[in-house]
Amino acid sequence: MDIEKLLLKVLNDEASSKEYAALESWKKESEENIKLLQELQTKHTDIQDGYKDYDKNAAWHKVESRILQSEQAPQHKPAYLKWASLAAILLVGLYGLFHFSNQEPAVPKEYKSAEQTMQFALEDKTDIWLRDGGSQLNVVSDFEEERRVALIGEAFFDVAHDTDRPFIIELDNQDYVRVVGTSFNLVNEGGEFDLTLYSGVVELHMNNRTITLHKGDRAKKINGSLVKYRNNDSNITSWKSNELVFDNINISEAFEVMEAHFNITIDYNSRTNNLEGCAIRSKFTNENLEGVLSELSDILGFNYKTVDGKVLIKDLACN
């Protein structure tokens, strides 16, 4: 008998003594079985009336950026500066005529992307693309001696060349990236980062060590350790260019690229299907998920449907 049918009968008080015996032996199989049964037997009437699902990812971003800001805020600001800035705000607010830019301490600027990729230039003409979905860049210095910013999330940097004022991106703890002029993609999330260099040279400062990266290098911090290798993924900046390039890669890799690009989950039966030799060569520009899926399904002859934000791939076979 199916365990599910058995569980159903037990939960509905319809089980026979024989079935209860079967349940007992199932319970003996693992600790988890016992816990699950207890879980299912508890009445959770509250869930229906009012247990809500708050967005913990958005909340985490808020808390983390608050932490980041408080860590970067000057510890002991002279009191007169506070009064000067307060006075400045009051006066500007009242009259809107005076320019206090000389006396005012630099106010940190924050950029945060919403549903769209956000592009802007900093005052030094550094171009920045912030990935959609709540990536955040904070400008934390006045750019007088050095250009210092902090990133949470993912961004592409095209840093304006200026040997006198190094460009510094704070990552986590004491780690940072130091740049003179170059372009690169950087992801900094949850204490891990992923840096891919497209031109020039950058220095990565991590745990008081300095690692120099050259054009085409990629460095990742995963679980506290650093890996450096030559980048061969042509789709890292697909979020920015809106271009997906499948250059003779296996369909399973293509699905991975699509998952990262469209921020979705793709389910396909990788175990039951032999996907070897299932290579794909194609290029998509400004195409949405549906467009890419429909073309891939034409090429490879599979069926697909979207359920609950997940894409289910069926009948995937490579001939």
Binding site: E4, L8, Q48, K56, R66, G191
Partner: protein, 170 residues
């Protein structure tokens, strides 16, 4: 030190944020206020991490922290006091002194089941909730949803199957 490092802090945050917000909301009756308050509690815990002692029951500790903060807010809220005009706010806290650990347990287990249920397809989840949580019989569900009793049973079996695999994973 309460949290070993930021990764540990984040793990605790992720596991408790939703149940804590639900709890705060049961006191404050405002989603925005509740979320702000819970975020505030976490922010201050991290800021003071180095001076905090490890605790035995972290969940109960967090629920207590949120409870105290929520009542602090209510006490500070003059409008609330005015609405109560003449009544003392003293007794409010006592009502919730049921037992912090049973309350913590209640919210954490609600979170567990509700997060398991997030894996269910919509129709399946609906049937499961109607039967398991609202106590409707198969016949009642079949009638209200316009499906056959057999289909209700199939949805239930499917729900249990998914819950079982997700539970094993979690």
């Amino acid at each position: 030190m309460l949290f070993v490092d930021k990764a540990a802090f984040k793990t605790v945050f992720n596991a408790h944020y939703v149940p804590l917000c639900n709890y705060a909301n049961s006191i404050l009756r405002s989603d925005n206020l509740s979320e702000d308050l819970v975020q505030d509690v976490f922010f201050h815990l991290w800021k003071n991490n180095s001076t905090l002692e490890p605790v035995d029951n972290l969940s109960a500790f967090l629920f207590t922290a949120v409870k105290n903060k929520a009542f602090e807010h209510i006490r500070a809220d003059k409008a609330y006091k005015k609405a109560l005009s003449g009544y003392s706010t003293e007794g409010i806290e006592d009502k919730t002194e049921i037992s912090m650990s049973s309350l913590t347990h209640k919210y954490m287990s609600m979170e567990r089941l509700s997060s398991l249920m997030r894996h269910l397809p919509p129709k399946c989840k609906n049937v499961f909730a109607l039967h398991k949580l609202n106590g409707l019989t198969y016949a009642e569900i079949a009638a209200s949803e316009g499906i056959s009793i057999k289909t209700v049973e199939n949805h239930m079996i499917k729900a249990l199957k998914i819950l079982r695999t997700e539970y094993a994973k979690s």
